[in-house]
């Protein structure tokens, strides 16, 4: 029994006299308070000033214009970058020192071991060799577009090339710098990456094959990766590092082709993986601009969001600094000493925070238990909760259902609208991007809003006129029997399910055999017939007109109920005063059923903003976008698995609904005729 205390329940004896409650050990509490305050102050001090702050990542916008496709280091502080607008840019210490245009689209780039020659492969079958000053030395041709190339220690170059896309006509070849082949070998589908370890030429292709070719061009081993590798490099031991399109990095044994370890680094595809000889580490970068550093045993020891755009190329490390180039042309320098220190610091901070929280919890508990008044109320609350058991059991199923099916989606919806949630890329927080896109870049949305407003205005007119007229006429009928049967008769058409009602109207508008066109023909107005729903000029009006004469049964009954609830003496008084029916309608009826009018207005509003099933059935939003509404657009976005964007549209519509709802509840709370 939630309202009564059971007989066996012990009664807590806690109530210290009120006058005493502040007298007990005030000094002890003062010390406690002082400790707490200094503790808080120390914390604030620590987090604002004592905590070391360091600029771990430095970025310079080094390469202007175009996106960086590839970059290689020439010596310690020079970088040669290739941009998407076909230029070579030579950067020294973060600033441009030279640039030359290239006449072909270079797809892959590498440099000889002594940094004296640069080798590039084009999509046009050419392999071009430049000297370090970017003067072209020579070029030769291979039999297809070059997808990847690597220069070996012995100044030969391993090239992946082939014809078409997903054709199976791809080769790996090893050539000297004059263009004489050592071997060429057909390896199947498009080659993503090549690597070279002494006399082994290693390739990875789009179907996930990884293989190693000996100097005779025959397979030494071949294997299959889980996902196709996109990038490869070779370590000092000659083992192969690979990175795939699902954020995984592998170390592959060069002798056998077996995977030594693999490590999932990211949800995004990897855009770069490289071995750094100086530090004996592996560096990787993903599509999202994150940079990773791994030990040779595959242990990730540093990661950071280094850029807004994919990390395209890793250059090298110099002492404790790591240099990389992102695809939007940023020259990125990461101070690894500081970075690792900062990472340690972060771990310390977390520990600090947790111990803080625990201390605060302990302090609050002690305070509650030592101060009699607080202790009393704590016990009181605990007892109340215990006594409310029955009530909690009764509401529990409903509350759990509401929590799961109402609150959880609400919170999810609010969150999703600020993310890029879809099935194509990993979920990511993108701030207001969805809203900016909806409100400024999405033409469909505003077409939809226009239609929605039109539907709203006409919907209000429809629900305030005909149902009210019918309710008035029925209410003032003099014969009770007729009155009853009229009421029933008006309900009968609504036995047709909503979807069927809409389908019937779709049938009425049918251009070939629709009732509307047939009636027009029968009346000799054949020239007026048209495809009402397929004509952009009439489609939205056809949707509005559907349901004629719009005797909404819900509105009708609510109005009728309002009229029935009016005290009859008021009508009698009006009749004695000789008021005409017209006057009575305006002065009494309308005023007395104002709450009902407001209710219907509100429901019409909710319906107009949120309903689009009828439009989906009739036109699917067409022809073109003639009958689009934002709700329908949201539905289509869900069907296209664009959940983030759909949530943002839902959020905007919900805001509109919410504003009106709050306004309505404030309005209806005013002292009125209720």
């Amino acid at each position: 029994m939630a309202t009564r205390a059971g007989p066996t329940r012990p009664v807590m004896s806690v109530a210290a006299p009120k006058s005493q409650s502040w007298a007990i050990a005030p000094s002890g509490r003062a010390i406690l308070a002082a400790l707490a305050i200094s503790f808080v102050l120390l914390n604030v001090l620590y987090f604002t000033s004592l905590r070391p702050k360091a600029n771990v990542i430095e970025k310079v916008q080094a390469i202007p214009g175009g996106r960086v496709l590839e970059a290689v280091a020439i010596g310690d502080n020079r970088v040669l970058a290739l941009t998407s607008d076909n230029r070579f840019v030579l950067v020294e210490d973060g600033s441009v020192v030279a640039e030359t245009p290239v006449d072909k689209t270079v797809t892959s780039l590498d440099i000889t071991a002594d940094s004296s020659k640069i080798v590039g492969g084009t999509s046009d079958r050419d392999v071009i060799i430049w000297d370090a000053q970017l003067n072209e030395l020579r070029r030769f041709q291979v039999n297809g577009r070059v997808t990847s190339l690597k220069v070996a220690e012995d100044n030969t170059v391993v090239i992946g090339y082939g014809v078409g896309r997903f054709t199976g006509r791809f080769n790996v070849g090893r050539f000297d710098l004059q263009g004489n082949p050592v071997f060429t070998k057909r390896v199947g589908q498009d080659v993503n990456a090549v690597a070279v370890a002494n006399d082994l030429s290693i390739y990875a292709n789009v179907s996930g094959d990884v293989g190693a070719l000996g100097s005779d061009g025959e397979h030494v081993w071949r294997g299959k990766a889980v996902k196709p590798l996109l990038q490869m490099d070779v370590t000092a031991d000659g083992h192969v590092i690979g990175a795939d399109e699902r954020g995984m990095v592998y170390l592959i044994d060069v002798a056998t082709g077996k995977t030594i370890w693999n490590q999932k680094l990211s949800d995004y595809r990897m855009r770069m993986v490289a071995y750094d000889a100086l530090s004996d580490k592996i560096v990787a970068g993903d599509e999202d601009g994150r940079l990773f550093m791994l030990n040779m045993d595959g242990q990730l020891f540093y990661q950071a969001k280094a850029s807004a755009s994919p990390i395209r190329s890793f250059i090298h490390t110099v002492q404790d600094n790591l240099f990389a180039v992102s695809s939007n042309g940023e020259w990125i320098k990461i101070d690894l000493g500081l970075a690792l220190g900062a990472q340690r610091q972060q771990a310390i901070n977390t520990g600090w925070l947790i111990s803080n929280l625990m201390l605060i919890a302990a302090a609050v508990t002690t305070l509650t238990l030592t101060v009699p008044r607080l202790r009393a109320s704590a016990f009181h609350t605990a007892r109340q909760i215990k006594q409310s058991k029955t009530a909690y059991l009764l509401i529990a199923p409903s509350m759990i259902l509401i929590l799961i099916f109402a609150y959880v989606p609400t919170v999810m919806g609010l969150y999703y609208s600020f993310t890029n949630f879809n099935l194509a890329e990993p979920i990511k927080f993108i701030g207001l991007d969805n809203f900016v896109r909806v409100l400024t870049k999405d033409p469909f949305f505003w077409v939809g809003v226009g239609n929605m407003v039109l539907l709203l205005v006409t919907g209000i007119i429809k629900s305030l006129t005909v149902p009210l007229l019918v309710a008035e006429l029925v209410f003032w009928l003099r014969w009770a029997r007729v009155k009853y049967w009229m009421r029933v008769a008006f309900i009968v058409p609504s036995i047709v399910p909503g979807v069927v009602g809409v389908l019937l109207w779709k049938q009425i508008y049918d251009p070939q055999i629709g009732l509307l066109n047939e009636t027009l023909k029968a009346l000799g107005l054949g020239h007026l017939t048209r495809a009402w729903l397929a004509d952009a000029n009439t489609a939205i009006w056809a949707i509005i007109f559907a349901g004629f004469p719009w005797v909404g049964i819900f509105a009708f009954l609510i109005y009728l109920g309002g009229l029935l609830n009016i005290n009859h003496e008021i009508f009698d008084a009006a009749a004695i005063d000789g008021a005409s029916a017209w006057r009575r309608f305006w002065d009494i009826d309308l005023k007395m059923i104002r709450p009902q009018l407001r209710l219907i207005l509100f429901f019409t509003f909710l319906g107009s903003v949120q309903e689009y099933g009828n439009i989906w059935i009739m036109t699917r939003g067409g022809p073109g976008t003639a009958t689009y509404v934002p709700g329908l657009q949201m539905f289509l976005q869900i069907s296209a698995a664009e959940f983030g964007y759909a949530s943002a549209i839902g959020f905007i519509l919900a805001l509109v609904v919410l504003v009106i709802t709050v306004w309505r509840f404030r309005f209806s709370q005013q002292p009125d005729v209720d």
């Binding site: 006594q387 199923p397 109402a406 609400t410 069927v500 009732l515 609830n565 959940f643």
Partner: protein, 279 residues
């Protein structure tokens, strides 16, 4: 005076009959078409359905019986779930004193302010995550969850209006709270419960968008999904919809609602006109 009033009333009846006629146009069209051979519909649109072609109904029944049974079962289970749980909760909120009552009730009505457009997308994702998608029990669970708030809100108001003395005397007689709910509160609330059941039935029976998202595979189709995609083939009408059978399907789909109204119309009209569901 009376004569004039009679005249006005007669004119009112005439006006009402005119409006009534237009309201019935789609229904009349549906019924006549459903009794005609589709070849006759295409040949002479205005021809009367003589002799009536009942085989249209055989065909429609064959195609739509399964989705209709599915929908009605789902709606029935949902309604039982909604009213059962919300009765318990509404009773507690209306009759019992307990710690955190105000807060918890605000928690219930606050969610009223959240419109369906906001939760549609995340509900879809949630259904996917919980493995409730493409399953009728899953959809039912969503309906039960979604129906709670409104039902609790309405029922609490009704339970509060019941006189406290009945419950007090029941307690003195040693009745448990659970017995009080089902022996006293619920029977007294029958009109409002029937109204709630009808409203929920109409909402679930007519729902299209949410089942479309929830039930992608054909073997789970609800009646609305089946109806909007209903294109029975007829080799005598190459490339044209068999309108007779389609409209027979529409008539068939209207029968459950007709039955619900026949059974509960009294309560429904009472519920809506009594002002219980007002602001």
């Amino acid at each position: 005076m009376t004569k004039r009033a009679n005249l006005t009333s007669s004119l009112s009846v005439l006006a009402l009959l005119a409006i009534l006629f237009f309201s019935f146009v789609p229904v009349i069209m549906m019924v006549t078409m459903s009794l005609k051979d589709s070849i006759l519909i295409y040949g002479d649109f205005w021809a009367p359905p003589i002799p009536p072609m009942w085989s249209n109904y055989n065909r429609a029944l064959l195609d739509l019986l399964a989705p209709a049974a599915r929908t009605i079962t789902m709606a029935a289970v949902s309604i039982v779930g909604i009213t059962f749980f919300s009765c318990l909760a509404a009773y507690a909120f209306a009759r019992l004193k307990f710690f955190g009552k105000e807060f918890l009730f605000y928690l219930v009505i606050f969610i009223f302010l959240v419109p369906g457009v906001l939760t549609l997308t995340p509900s879809f994702v949630l259904a996917n995550t919980l493995g409730l998608r493409n399953s009728l029990p899953g959809l039912t669970l969503f309906y039960i969850g979604g129906g709670q708030v409104f039902a609790i809100f309405i029922l609490r108001a009704f339970f509060q209006s019941q006189p406290e003395e009945i419950f007090e005397s029941a307690r003195l007689d040693g009745a448990s709270e659970l017995r009080s709910v089902f022996a006293i509160a619920v029977p007294l609330a029958r009109p409002i419960l029937v109204t709630l059941a009808i409203m929920n039935f109409l909402a679930i029976y007519n729902d299209l968008i949410w089942p479309l998202l929830m039930l992608p595979s054909p073997e789970n189709r609800t009646l609305t999904i089946a109806l909007q995609a209903y294109q029975p083939l007829n080799e005598r009408l190459p490339g044209r919809p068999d309108l007779g059978v389609i409209t027979a399907g529409y008539v068939f789909a209207s029968i459950p609602i007709l039955m619900v109204f026949a059974f509960g119309m009294k309560y429904y009209i009472e519920g809506l006109t009594s002002g219980a569901i007002k602001s």
